[in-house]
């Protein structure tokens, strides 16, 4: 029986070595490994994996094609629902989605759907020239996309395929959103993967203008009125970092994870040929337990520091992908669970010299269903360190909201939009983290594609002028 084959392990860079470089941790499957792993799939009649995939990729169908060696076919199956397989294969929290529901996981290990998706995505990048690109004939309508993260890229490429003239406006100098400024090179290679995905969007005829901050350089209304766009998609993400509001947070040596990661990833501070500096000190404490915290702490380690995670709940509640936690531990990251900072301690010159924390215990479950961390009184202690990185989550930047009249946002600053992306403003659509708050690449990508379909029907339903 096929499922007697154990899950095929994936080759990875040695932990001791990779903790000193920025090259990708995971090498991925080769052809043989991928076919063997794919052969484990039972091709279920009612595939649970598919139901648990946020964009409902036909997983058994693509896996069957991998098993048969038909990679173009596999790419086409995934392509029907996802435009970023090489990215999502690497960064999706598969254990909570497809793989978490795979029937094989009940008795043994689930099919390595993520690794197979990555394999197919990478194959497609390498064989892009052989795959048909069919930019549709131009239909005479223009759509502006704000933000070049996964939601914007997905929305733009779908619209271009339908024949729209699409232009993406990006605030930063580089295209890709969190994929280029947040998620590190060692998890998601920038040139080999992200730049290739961007190139394929451009090959469809999508134009990209960087250095345009919508709300400042021009407004949503300028795009509609002055620049003649029929519709606008807002995919500006949730980039505003949160701080704890504790004493000492503005000492020299305290960073948001966004700053720490942006200096390293977007600005290449770790590479001496680039001008942007970064301060890493000798010991870095990262506060938080999500993917962002894992990325920051592993980056600190690679920059040569001793690196520690401080998280107020227990390990079971860590919201990061399981694989990242596992990799971080292999790389020698210290985890201090049930620990919550109360103050950053500075020296007489105003630089960080430690972080004062309290021990926590888990009490009754809160609204989120997770057990609420409660402070153990009098348990205060100081961890010596010279850098503190706050990875506490982010919220949408208020710039677009404050410069676009009539655009409804909720209490948390997220743009209010329907399931298919329509906002309170006619012709203005939104999706991704800007709508949901910080979420995932796959959800952002899915939202961009839904909005593209909605924009198409909106424009088609408008009376011709």
């Amino acid at each position: 029986m096929a499922n007697r084959i154990p899950r095929v392990p994936v080759r990875e860079q040695d932990p001791a070595r990779r903790a000193t470089n920025f090259e990708e941790v995971c090498y991925g499957y080769n052809d043989e490994e991928a076919r063997l792993e794919a052969s484990r799939c039972l091709n279920c009649k009612a595939p649970r994996c598919m139901g648990a995939c946020p964009v409902h990729i036909n997983i058994p169908a693509f896996v069957a094609r991998v098993a048969a060696g038909d990679l173009a076919g596999a790419a086409a199956v995934i392509g029907a629902d996802s435009s970023l397989p090489s990215v999502c294969g690497r960064v999706c929290p598969q254990e909570n989605q497809c793989e978490g529901s795979c029937v094989l996981g009940i008795k043994s290990e689930p099919v390595a759907i993520g690794k197979l998706e990555r394999y197919v995505g990478d194959w497609a990048i390498a064989h892009r020239d052989e795959l048909p690109v069919s930019p549709a004939p131009r239909n005479g309508h223009k759509v502006a996309v704000i933000g070049s993260g996964p939601s914007g890229l997905a929305c733009a490429s779908d619209l271009a395929r339908m024949g729209y003239e699409v232009k993406i406006f990006e605030a930063l100098h580089k295209v890709g959103g969190v994929l280029v400024y947040g998620i590190p090179e060692f998890r998601l290679p920038k040139e080999r993967i992200v730049a290739e995905e961007v190139k394929s969007v451009k090959d469809l005829g999508v134009e990209i203008e960087t250095d345009v901050i919508v709300g400042r350089t021009l407004t949503v209304d300028d795009l509609l009125d002055r620049e003649g766009y029929d519709a606008v998609f807002i995919g500006t993400g949730a980039g505003l970092p949160r701080f704890m509001g504790i004493e000492g947070e503005n000492l020299n040596g305290v960073f948001s994870a966004n700053e720490f990661l942006t200096r390293t990833n977007l600005m290449h501070a770790y590479d001496d040929s680039f001008d942007t500096p970064i301060y890493t000190g000798r010991k870095v404490v990262v506060v938080g337990g999500g993917n962002v915290a894992m990325d920051a702490v592993r980056t600190a380690k690679r920059l040569g520091a001793e690196a520690v995670i401080v998280y107020r709940r227990s390990e079971a509640e860590l919201p990061a992908r399981k694989e990242e936690v596992h990799h971080a531990k292999e790389e020698g990251i210290e985890f201090r669970m049930l620990t919550n900072p109360v103050r950053v301690v500075g020296d007489d010159k105003g630089w960080v010299k430690g972080i004062e924390c309290v021990e926590m215990t888990l009490g009754e479950p809160d609204e989120s269903g997770r057990r609420r961390p409660v402070e153990k009184e009098g348990s205060n202690f100081v961890i010596d360190c010279d850098v503190v990185v706050m990875a506490l989550g982010t919220s949408p930047n208020p710039l677009i909201k404050s410069t676009t009249e009539g655009l409804q946002c909720n209490r948390k600053g997220c743009i209010e939009a329907t399931e298919d992306g329509a906002t309170s403003r006619e012709g203005v659509f939104a999706g991704g983290d800007a709508v949901t708050g910080a979420a995932t690449v796959i959800l952002a990508m899915g939202a961009g594609r839904k909005a593209a379909a909605a924009i198409d029907s909106y424009i088609k339903s408008k009376p011709r002028q």
Binding site: H173, L218, I278
Partner: protein, 284 residues
């Protein structure tokens, strides 16, 4: 790419450049800034918009050589181009929010020091265009390093001071402020101070004594300039604010200058930006 259409030296280490950036020129307002990158390896460096020409699509910047990045900027020639020139960023000056009637009655004092003179210019010019002639104090160590004086004289009443007395009032800007207000009996409804952090701190202390509402333009460290990183955070009235989106201008009587100065000097001893002073006690 954003071409440098003209360039001139204002002093041995300060240059003025007009850069072709039609979108920025179209939307720029006094008080705002841009973030530039010289090349693919460059830092994102914030610079104040010192003037703009919407018709020609150009934006004027004035840069003082401080370290690696500003030196790189000042080594560019006419015809060269910036890889990136993003903006306008930050909030426009508060002056722009005043109702026309109130604006007309305003008696405004600008205090400029060092490379802060050029950034005062667009505000003074804007006021002039709106019927208000402001007083501008320009301070310098010595007369040879004054910049933008002729330009400023066209749009405002200029008062010069030098630390060494080589031109104008002999003393610092705070001394000249005192002279104007106490000896010459001048009265002001508001004051805008732009210059080195230490100068802004003391000039703001002075205006507090005279009870003149005061704005200062903070030059915090920045990375993105869009509110994404928090590198630029400062404390104003006990609250953390992001200079790039909530500023750069803040109430000068409420800014925690000591913290702002400390944070600004963060990379002064960095291996990459200042190898000469870096004594390797860390990995940064």
């Amino acid at each position: 790419m954003f071409e440098i259409v003209s360039r001139r030296d204002l002093s041995p280490n300060i240059t003025e450049m007009k850069v072709k950036a039609p979108r920025v020129a179209q939307s720029a307002q006094p008080g705002q800034f841009v973030i530039v990158r010289v090349d693919e390896l460059g830092e994102r460096i914030p610079l104040t918009i010192c003037d703009y020409d919407r018709e020609k699509g150009t934006v004027t910047i004035v840069t003082q050589t401080i370290g690696i990045s500003s030196a790189k900027i000042n080594s560019l020639k006419q015809g060269d181009a910036f890889t990136d020139f993003a903006g306008p960023l930050g909030r426009p000056s508060d002056l722009l929010e005043l109702p026309e009637e109130e604006l007309k009655k305003q008696r405004v004092l600008f205090v400029a020091g060092g490379v802060g003179t050029a950034p005062v210019y667009p505000q003074a010019k804007w006021l002039k265009e709106h019927g208000v002639t402001a007083d501008v104090i320009i301070g310098a160590k010595t007369k040879d390093i004054f910049t933008y004086v002729d330009e400023m004289r066209k749009v405002a009443n200029v008062y010069l001071c030098t630390d060494d007395g080589s031109e104008g009032f002999h003393g610092m800007v705070t001394g000249l402020m005192k002279d104007l207000i106490e000896r010459q009996g001048k009265q002001y409804d508001r004051c805008v101070i732009i210059g080195p952090m230490i100068m802004m701190k003391f000039a703001a202390l002075a205006t507090r004594e005279y009870n003149i509402p005061t704005q200062v333009s903070l030059n915090a460290l920045m990375v993105d300039g869009t509110g994404m990183c928090g590198a630029c955070r400062v404390t104003v009235d006990g609250q953390t604010r992001f200079t790039c989106v909530d500023g750069p201008e803040f109430d000068g009587h409420k800014v925690d200058f000591d913290e702002a100065m400390r944070r600004q000097s963060m990379y002064r001893d960095n291996r990459k930006t200042h190898p000469e002073t870096h004594n390797c006690k860390c990995h940064g």
